[in-house]
C-alpha cells in the first residue's frame, strides 16, 4: 500500500496534458478506414474510366439495372430488419418478462453474441449443408415425403436469402434491445397499475412508446446491417441475386462488363443511404437514452 501511494505521488504529472494521445489511435483508425476510403470513393466516382472529371457515373445510376439492384437490396434489408426486429424483440421480451428460466437467458445471450457475428461464407455454407437442395433438413423433409423445393422455396432466391440473413438479424436485435427492455422501471408498471391499467394497457400506453425509439433505432441498425452485407449473398447465390453490393463487386472487379466508375457511384449511393440511416439512428438513440437513462 505504502509503495503504491508513493509512486502515485512521484508520478504526479506536469500540468501539460497528454490526454489527446489517448484518442490518437481512434483518429488514425477512423482516417485510415473510414474517412480515407470515403474520400477515395468520392474522387473515383467523379472520374471517367478514360480519365478526367465527370458526372456521367452518377447519370448511369438511373439505369434500370442499377435501380433494380438498389431496390432488391432495400427490399431484402427492410424485410429482414422488420421481421428479424419483431422476432428478436418478442424473444428478448420472453426472456426478460416471460418468466423463462435464467439458464435460457444466458444461453440465448451467448448464442446471440455468436450468431450476430456469424455471416459470410461460413454462414452460407452452413445453410447450404442444411437447407440446400441436398441439405440435411431438406433430405429429412424428403424422407417424410415433403419436397421443400417443390414449392417456391429455394435457398438461392429472395426468400432463401431472407431466411439466411435472419440468422444474424434477430440475434442482433436480441442483443441491442435487451438493455432497453431492462431499462424499463418497475415503478412505471406499478404506477400504471395503480392508476387502473391492465398489463396490456401498460404495454400499449407506457412500455411500448418508451421503447419505440430503441426499437426503431435498432431496426434501422438491422437495415444497415443487411444493406451492407455482401459476402453471405455472394457465397450463397454466386452473384445471381443482383444486390447493390454484388453489383458494385461486379463493376469494380468483375471480369465482364466492368465499369469501375459506375461501381464507385453505386457505392457512393450506398454510403448516402447508410449515412441517412445512421443519422436517423442517432436521433432515435438520443431520445431513447433520455427516457431510459
Amino acid at each position: 500500500m505504502t509503495s503504491l501511494t508513493s509512486t502515485s505521488v512521484e508520478g504526479q504529472r506536469p500540468p501539460r496534458s497528454w490526454n489527446w494521445v489517448g484518442i490518437l489511435p481512434f483518429l488514425l483508425f477512423s482516417s485510415a478506414f473510414l474517412l480515407g476510403p470515403a474520400i477515395i470513393l468520392l474522387v473515383r466516382s467523379l472520374q471517367a474510366n478514360e480519365g478526367g472529371w465527370t458526372l456521367g457515373n452518377y447519370r448511369q445510376l438511373i439505369d434500370p439495372q442499377v435501380l433494380e439492384a438498389y431496390g432488391l437490396s432495400v427490399r431484402i434489408s427492410i424485410v429482414t430488419a422488420v421481421v428479424g426486429g419483431v422476432f428478436g424483440f418478442l424473444l428478448a421480451w420472453a426472456i426478460i418478462y416471460g418468466g423463462l428460466p435464467r439458464v435460457f437467458r444466458s444461453l440465448l445471450t451467448t448464442f446471440s453474441g455468436v450468431a450476430s457475428n456469424f455471416a459470410g461464407v461460413p454462414l452460407a455454407a452452413a445453410f447450404i449443408f442444411t437447407l440446400g437442395r441436398i441439405g440435411m433438413i431438406t433430405a429429412l423433409f424428403g424422407f417424410f415425403g415433403i419436397d421443400l423445393y417443390d414449392s417456391d422455396f429455394s435457398l438461392y432466391n429472395f426468400w432463401g436469402l431472407t431466411v439466411v440473413y435472419m440468422f444474424f438479424q434477430f440475434p442482433l436485435m436480441v442483443l441491442t434491445i435487451t438493455p432497453a427492455l431492462e431499462g424499463l422501471k418497475k415503478e412505471w408498471k406499478e404506477a400504471s397499475e395503480n392508476l387502473g391499467a391492465t398489463s396490456w394497457q401498460y404495454w400499449r400506453h407506457v412500455a411500448l412508446p418508451v421503447l419505440m425509439p430503441s426499437i426503431l433505432g435498432t431496426i434501422i441498425l438491422l437495415f444497415g446491417n443487411a444493406f451492407g452485407a455482401h459476402a453471405t449473398a455472394y457465397a450463397l447465390t454466386g452473384g445471381t441475386l443482383r444486390l447493390a453490393t454484388i453489383l458494385i463487386g461486379a463493376q469494380i472487379s468483375g471480369d465482364v462488363l466492368q465499369n469501375q466508375g459506375l461501381g464507385y457511384a453505386v457505392a457512393m449511393g450506398m454510403v448516402l443511404i447508410m449515412g441517412l440511416s445512421i443519422g436517423l439512428y442517432t436521433i432515435l438513440q438520443r431520445r431513447a437514452e433520455r427516457w431510459l437513462a
Binding site: 422501471k185 415503478e187 412505471w188 406499478e190 404506477a191 400504471s192 397499475e193 395503480n194 392508476l195 387502473g196 391499467a197 391492465t198 394497457q201 400506453h205 407506457v206 412508446p209 418508451v210 433520455r290 427516457w291 431510459l292
Partner: protein, 349 residues
C-alpha cells in the same frame, strides 16, 4: 368503523417475516405516518395496501370493502413513489390525466380535472412540459397530482421527499399537508425521517423489525414513549444508569433522582432514568440535580447543545438560545437540574 383497516396483517418472504401482526385502524381524512429504520417493513406494509404484495395472513379493508385479494388496478388508492415514476413519454398533463383516460372519462372533463390539479400543485402552465424538463421537486408534485386525479379513497406515499434536497423537502412537506387538508384525503406516509413524521402526521406508527412499537399522535410518541426502541429512536434521549430505591426514587452514583412517573421495577433493580436533553437546565434546581464537567458547547442557532461528562457517562443538555443566556465554559464544573415530572424509568438491558 374506521375507514382503512389492517387486521392482523402479516407478510413473509420465503422464510423471513417482514411484517408481523400489524393492526391499524385509520379514520377517514386522517394522516398517518409509518416511521422506522431501514428494513423495518414500512414499504412492505404500504405495498400490501396498494396491492403490490399479498398479505400472508390477515385482512385489509377500505371503506368497509375487503380488498385483501383485489388486484392493484381494482383498488382505488393513489400511490406516490420515491423515484417519482412519471411516464417519460407523456407530458405533465398526460401523466396527470392517465388514470382518467383509463377510466374512459370524457376529454373535456379530463382536461378540466387536470387543470384543477395543476392549479392545486401550483404548476398551472407546465401541462405541456415533459418530465425530463422538470426539477425533482416539480416531478414529485406532478406525481402527487397524478395519484390524486383519480380521486383515490386512500393516498399512499413512500418516502416521497427523500430524493430531494433539504430546502425543497421542507417546502414540499408543507405542500403535501396543505393538499391533504384541502382534499381531506386519508393518507399513509412512509418515512424514516422522524422530524418529517412528527411535522406532518395526526398519528405516527413507529415500527421496528416488522413490529409496530407504538401508535399515537406525535406529542404522545415523543413525550410518552412506551418502549425502549421508541424512546431512543424518536428524538435524543439521555439514559442515566442507576438502581431503584422505591417507587419514586433511583440512586444514580452519588445522587438520588426523583420521578413522578411511578416506577414499576422492584427496589434493587438496575434501571435507566430517561430524560430528554431539552428538559435539562444548567444551574441548581429544586428537584433533580447532577454534577459534571462541561465537555463541549455547540451553538446550533435556536438551541445550544452542551455535553457534560459525568464520570464515564455523557449527558446532553439542549438550552434554548436567548440573548441573556450565559454559555458555560468548557471544563467548567456545572450542576444540571431537571424536574421530577420530566423523567421516567426503564429497566436496564
Amino acid at each position: 368503523m374506521a375507514f382503512l383497516v389492517l387486521d392482523r396483517v402479516r407478510k413473509e418472504f420465503g422464510g423471513s417475516t417482514a411484517v408481523e401482526d400489524f393492526n391499524l385502524a385509520v379514520e377517514a381524512g386522517e394522516f398517518v405516518s409509518f416511521l422506522g429504520p431501514s428494513g423495518c417493513g414500512k414499504t412492505t406494509t404500504l405495498r400490501m395496501i396498494a396491492g403490490f404484495e399479498k398479505p400472508s395472513v390477515g385482512r385489509i379493508s377500505i371503506g368497509g370493502r375487503d380488498i385483501t385479494n383485489a388486484r392493484p388496478n381494482e383498488r382505488n388508492v393513489g400511490m406516490v413513489f420515491q423515484s417519482y415514476a412519471l411516464f417519460p413519454n407523456m407530458t405533465v398533463g398526460q401523466n396527470v390525466g392517465f388514470g382518467l383516460k383509463l377510466k374512459k372519462v370524457g376529454r373535456e372533463e379530463t382536461q378540466s380535472r387536470v387543470n384543477e390539479l395543476l392549479e392545486l400543485i401550483h404548476m398551472p402552465d407546465k401541462g405541456d412540459s415533459y418530465p425530463h424538463e422538470l426539477s425533482g421537486g416539480q416531478q414529485q408534485r406532478v406525481a402527487l397530482a397524478r395519484a390524486l386525479a383519480i380521486r383515490p379513497q386512500v393516498l399512499l406515499l413512500d418516502e416521497p421527499l427523500s430524493a430531494l434536497d433539504a430546502k425543497i423537502r421542507d417546502e414540499l412537506r408543507i405542500e403535501i399537508r396543505r393538499i391533504q387538508r384541502t382534499l381531506d384525503i386519508t393518507t399513509i406516509y412512509v418515512t424514516h425521517d422522524q422530524e418529517e413524521a412528527m411535522a406532518l402526521s395526526d398519528r405516527v406508527v413507529v415500527m421496528s423489525r416488522g413490529v409496530m412499537e407504538q401508535v399515537g399522535p406525535p406529542f404522545q410518541i415523543y413525550n410518552y414513549p412506551e418502549t425502549r426502541f421508541v424512546a431512543s429512536f424518536v428524538g435524543k434521549l439521555n439514559q442515566i444508569p442507576g438502581v431503584v430505591i422505591d417507587s419514586k426514587t433511583v440512586q444514580c452514583g452519588d445522587e438520588r433522582l426523583q420521578t413522578t412517573t411511578p416506577i414499576e421495577e422492584s427496589p434493587g433493580t438496575a434501571v435507566n432514568v430517561m430524560v430528554r436533553p431539552e428538559e435539562l437546565d444548567i444551574g441548581a434546581g429544586e428537584e433533580n440535580q447532577l454534577v459534571g464537567v462541561v465537555e463541549s458547547v455547540n451553538f446550533l442557532g435556536a438551541i445550544v447543545r452542551v455535553r457534560i461528562a459525568r464520570g464515564e457517562q455523557m449527558i446532553t443538555a439542549d438550552l434554548f438560545n436567548e440573548r441573556l443566556l450565559e454559555l458555560p465554559e468548557v471544563e467548567e464544573a456545572v450542576t444540571i437540574s431537571f424536574p421530577a415530572h420530566a423523567c421516567w424509568v426503564m429497566k436496564a438491558n
